[in-house]
Subunit: 231 residues, 2 copies
DNA sequence: TAAAAAAAATGAACATTGTTCAATAAAAAT
DNA sequence: ATTTTTATTGAACAATGTTCATTTTTTTTA
């Protein structure tokens, strides 16, 4: 009658470990082979279980993918939070933008999952997904401060933050989803970089000169997220 | 020996008609039920043939989808070309942007296909896809003229056009792919509209006041492109 | 420690996808 | 009319996510 609480705790812990194993395998496959390769059978194989077993750890595939989205969001949030120490809001705004571009281009698979893919996002509105807002809130805060300092025209901070986010998101998502066939791929680095400086400078004063060292050059080769289906 | 050229022409024509039927059905289903519903068997059913028959009209599904992309591009091009009559480049630039937003929000399925989805885009780099560039070329031309008139800072026209494109693309794709859960959907209209005016005005002088009548209000309800799989 | 209960994992199925291909039907050429 | 060419079918295949009765393993109880 008195359940052995020790073994129950251990079971709980082991379940958590296996969940972690599944997600970890999913992350690895996502990064190394692209989203298409992240399949239930593949994951089951990876953790040496049978496909059906996964369904006692996750309700369905969407739940797995959503967990990956959360991780990607946490990753981005760290990047954003690392910029918060910069005291000058204009400088911080520029830095946030650069960090965003860097994150997107260096972790295209995460970025795609987080901001482009359709799959697991229905849930986001329902589920608790505070991780998804953090970055935006930091951006909005910074934009607001920029307005106070006269670096940006006064306007609704939501609107202005959305505008800037739209710009950087548009840039990287056009690249990731390969809508720039007009432009040779060698120019992507310059294009992204140039557009960022052009638009940002046009909108607001340039902060004190800063080397673009935080932008990796050259960007990692754009991996084909939609890998060959045929073997 | 002398093949009946009459009947050959007719056969050719009939094949073309069936091809057209397939694509037309695909467009209808795409718009009314979303991309997920555009399936080989569904299309076969629609034209009252067997699934396998489609493969004598199209190499594979990607070829069908690519044909839809081309149509979507032609649609957008018409919208862009309609703006070319505006003599003042600044005014034209604003109009092009507004037309782009309108197109995207009123034809989200086409837009998604054209600029967001992964599926059929590998081919674009290879295939002849002049339709895909037309709109960008018009934009770049206008941006160039704006620079000449001093409406925009002088810079590489490719870079500047890409920057502006990125912005509007980012806006609509964040909406279409539902990454704005922070913001209530009723505000989308104001958000899009406000961000456009904010960013454009910050970058360049506002052209003579123009009612925003070309932006539909309210925007059509965002349809769930990733419809319910389960019935 | 042995039996009973609970939990976990399997394995085989199902319904969908896109796609192929030998066999058949239809149409055109001889 | 026969032959040849073309078009269409229908059945299969592989791969996807998912379910569920059965079996195995683990835990609890006696």
């Amino acid at each position: 009658m008195a359940k052995n609480i020790k073994s129950l705790q251990r079971r709980e812990r082991e379940r958590e470990e296996l969940r972690e194993q599944i997600l970890s395998a999913a992350m690895n496959i996502l990064v190394s082979e692209g989203y298409e390769a992240v399949t239930i059978r593949r994951l089951a194989n990876e953790i040496e279980y049978t496909p059906g077993a996964l369904y006692s750890y996750f309700k369905d595939k969407d739940e797995i993918v959503f967990a990956l989205v959360v991780r990607a969001a946490q990753h981005l949030n760290k990047v954003f939070q690392a910029q918060e120490s910069l005291p000058n809001p204009l400088e911080r705004l520029w830095a946030i933008g650069r960090a965003y571009l860097k994150f997107a281009m260096e972790h295209q698979e995460y970025y795609d999952l987080l901001f482009i893919m359709s799959t697991p996002i229905q849930k986001i509105s329902e589920a608790e997904f505070s991780e998804g807002y953090t970055a935006f809130i930091i951006l909005r805060q910074t934009v607001g401060e920029c307005m106070e300092h006269g670096y940006l025209p006064r306007a609704d901070a939501d609107v202005a933050a959305f505008a800037l986010w739209s710009f950087v998101h548009g840039s990287v998502s056009l690249m990731i989803r390969k809508r720039l066939a007009i432009i040779p791929e060698e120019k992507y680095q310059d294009l992204l970089h140039g557009a960022y400086n052009f638009l940002m400078s046009s909108m607001m004063p340039r902060h004190h000169e800063q080397p673009d060292a935080t932008l990796p050059k050259p960007f990692p080769k754009l991996k084909d997220l939609q890998k060959s289906k045929k073997k």
